[in-house]
Symmetry: D2
Subunit: 341 residues, 4 copies
């Protein structure tokens, strides 16, 4: 039984980690850090977890990390790097923030607006897109969870870029995301009255920070710079990301490449050709559904990927990586089906 | 490993059973019956289950029940009694329909508008409100799942009636229910455009059939006829029931009685006095949250109970009962926390 | 053409006033006050109003009230009394806050937690439930808009109390309200991720401030103290209130009394006996639908009233009152049908 | 005062017409046709219209068209052409179906799967995109309402194609639409439990019939065949379309062209450069908001258009056209602001 700490337990990704670990046969939640809500119980902060026997929320300083086997950091960006820099250098860590996703410190500075405060950790971190970094993750001490949008887009595109199947200069990711990805922060545009019953785009024109991950990963695969277009939209739904990806390439070959690449992946489900996924059908689960359709214009294809931003897009991915790092069965506590309706 | 059949697998309660059993360590789904969709795969009917290795949907006639250890019937009312009457008399059955909830055949005829077609089975059936019929359920061959609204109201009220703590002639249950309780049927008022963004009452004035269960159970506990008022409202949400129950009785005594009655119940959580439950905090789970508050008018109390109609209100309850009938741990595959947000 | 000022134009009731007045043939918006957003345009604050030619938001001090014929105050509670105390004593004012609803200063102090800062204005104010204070409103200088929940409950109950048709000691108002009634404030429980997909009660047990209005009005009608039970619930919808009112009284007489009382009211629609209203069917409009049903228990009735909290419950009511105060047709700019679906 | 008939009054676009015409100073609803619900009152079919004094629903045969000045046909596709072929040839008609949108009978046969049954009417019909066919509409007897998606995409693109500002071979319209566009039909995927809380694409790959309108109109403007890519997605919202359009062209020139083209249009609002529209901000109104942003990749732009499918996308457009056909002020009864929140 491994003893687990979760830092940032009062946010949605922290709560999602607890939800998943609650039925994990080999993990025990030993410490919950949440500086701003220290002293409260989880049932005060998240009443849906009230039946669980959980430790009280404490400040991070109060945690004895020598008794911890693995630590999840679900802290805000920038905070995370400071906290992790101060943790024992032998502690296994899965970070869910954006702080360690970029390998290039200049790219980090450009996209996140300042120098990184823990460059040594950044150098050590492994990018946490499980299916593509599995071996590195197994050996890693520090794994950087991917952006939820970045994961969705990469599941749709990596095998196509790797296979040379699409025009690298004409990739458009039109993405729709549920609101929980924005966290539990008090912003006017996240109010029910503002967000429900409609949709809008944000970060239009290439300003969303998850583009940094697309640039890093796609360019590395292609061996040349690849820049995609990416427009996220906010959905009136709590969970779920749907990425509609427009590419120039043969639909049959594209479908085949995805099907082959993910044939033995437990969580990546490629639908029969022409079928489309729905975020409703992966809700609350670690599964990702991917569909491919050919356009009426020859040589063009639409790839659509759906996953739950809180599960496969962050906390589920984090647990999948933690399982690998602890040499456990990769799918442990992650195979529960989606909740529908 | 027990072999399980589910009849009526193409409805929401059928799908919910599969979702729960998918992670059950001692059950294996051996047959899925759905007459109208026989020949289809579950991934056609419920794409959220596509990753599971499930048998194809078949007609009920095609199922070899001699190989089945326990059968869930998630069929429509009236159909259920006909099907069950024809099943082997030794087969363990958990029925999720209304057909075997009422012990009195006249009450059945009155509320359901006709004579019962399987009176011998009706006589044999045990009412499936687990916490109050646990011993009978363990020994039962046929268990009748309760109405989802009926379960919610009973969790709020049974200990109060049993304890003589409230005025039996002045009980009002104002209930709010999500739409999945109405099933996957094509009715105009269940369309998104009709149902979202508002609420309305239905079955007003004492016409909802779940009243028959309240009458039967509460009268039996009290040893005299008890008639409650019950008004359900349809919520623009998919899952969840909130029953706001108005009673005349001392709030402290009422809270104490509920807390004591459910002290060792794994799924019934009585909140600290004055706290209120939310359907969002039990969503997708088998937990029921119950809160008690005193009114400003002395001697009056409000008891509020929340559960998920598809889980604790039907399929979760059914699985809890099946665990008992198969002599398994009662909570097996039912302890996953709610999905929030 | 009357020149209108709106103070508190950056909140939902302010925006709703603008929406309604935009098509008013006899009113022109001359000034918009919003201290915290002064200097901004309405299209920044409420983009749905961008096509209108509106004055810029200014501080209240910047408004020349000598050029204003009528002023709407849509300010927060407590702020409103301070602002109104400082306005010209001849200015016609419709206040939408809670500050002038209670005629008794002790009741005010008890429910709102402190002494009133403008007792002379309080003494002068007329309670703005149009249909019952029409003559006083016509002559008033200062009209106090009612609570939105308070309006809904009163439409269901006033004729029944006046007619001596119900037991005054056993009245229960179980109310469901959309979230816009809580305003545009940044509170965690108003976030989409927290509020959508479920419901919960709040202010349980007789603590909601709208009870002060029920107490004041119902006691005045009855000529004796009347205390109702009142439990509001938060709905996952933006607009709409549904009040389910449980009374002891003959359903036929109750229906008749409501039908007679409102026979010539343009906005109060009593449905045929046994029909139930829905908040979806009054959305965005100034109409209120009321239904009456008899319970299976003799001598008990359920009265259900539905209105839009932002329209008939606040800004629509305010405009209706302003029309009266300016000697205009009462229904002017208020007869647009609800928006459905 | 003009006497108006509405055929197909029991659907959403029929109800929306009534909602708008209810406050029209120069129109009176004289007849409501709805074959399947003939004999019912509108308040039975659409309770939100119960306060209106409307004629009873009748069969189309029962209507005396000699007393009608203008007839709206809100009938299903295919039905509409049969009905209109049988109406008096002098009757002014605004058709909301797809039957008369395509000028080329072969294109009609291809996209709609069969020969047209009223080719003479088809030849006579004017395409109802008001801002671009205003003069023809004024003189027309029969106006064909556009597809709601087709209108949205055209508002974003027509001035760009006309101005030669974009690459005609690389246009992608990723569109998100509310569910009311699918009408009041009983389909499983339109149920609240199926549609809420998520999104999916449909008609992927160039199969949606509104493409026929894009092809017809864009090719006519360009003077050469133009084929766009178009992927609609179903939103968990009742009203609203958001079209995110990806083009290759200079953002500044594109914004300028749209701003100039719509400078004097009352309903088409081009936002300041870089701002994005939201469907929430046009809800229930006849306004269309259009925003332009440049991508980080030089020479690429994103144009986003939002309108309400039931209003500007169908019934509001139809009324705008009817106003023109009757020589009334074009904006009459159409200037009410959107309903937000």
């Amino acid at each position: 039984m491994y003893d687990i700490a979760i830092l940032g337990a009062s946010g949605y990704t922290g709560a999602e980690l607890i939800r998943l670990i609650a039925v994990h046969p080999e993990m025990r939640i030993a410490a919950l850090g949440a500086n701003s809500k220290a002293g409260q119980s989880m049932s005060d902060v998240f009443p849906h977890l009230r039946h669980l026997d959980l430790p009280e929320l404490v400040t991070i300083d109060e945690i004895d990390f020598s008794a911890i086997d693995l630590c999840f950091c679900a802290l805000p960006h920038a905070t995370s790097q400071e906290v992790i820099a101060a943790l024992p250098k032998t502690l296994k860590i899965v970070d869910l923030s954006a702080d360690f996703r970029l390998r290039d410190s200049e790219a980090y500075a450009k996209w996140y607006g300042g120098a990184h405060a823990a460059l040594d950790c950044q150098a050590e971190a492994v990018y946490g897109l499980t299916e593509f970094y599995r071996d590195e993750i197994r050996r890693a001490r520090l794994v950087a969870g991917t952006g939820c949008n970045a994961a969705t887009g990469q599941y749709a595109l990596r095998p196509l870029i790797a296979g040379g199947l699409i025009d690298l200069d004409d990739i458009i990711i039109d993405l729709k995301t549920g609101v929980s990805g924005a966290g539990r922060s008090l912003k006017e545009n996240l109010l029910h009255a503002e967000l429900s019953e409609g949709t809008h785009a944000y970060g239009v024109g290439g300003t969303h920070r998850h583009l940094a991950e697309f640039d890093q990963e796609f360019s590395a695969i292609a061996g040349r710079p690849v820049k995609v277009q990416f427009t996220p939209h906010l959905l009136p739904a709590n969970r779920g990301i749907l990425a509609t990806v427009y590419v120039k390439g043969e639909p049959g070959a594209i479908h085949g490449a995805l099907r082959d690449a993910y044939a033995s992946e437990p969580f990546l489900q490629v639908l029969p050709f022409g079928q489309v996924p729905s975020t409703r059908h992966i809700r609350g689960s670690n599964y990702c559904h991917i569909g491919v359709t050919g356009d009426r214009i020859e040589g063009r294809s639409i790839v659509i990927a759906a996953l739950d931003n809180l599960t496969k897009g962050s906390s589920g991915q984090a647990l999948q990586n933690a399982n690998l790092m602890l040499n456990l069965e990769e799918t442990m506590a992650l195979t529960a089906p989606p909740v529908f309706p």
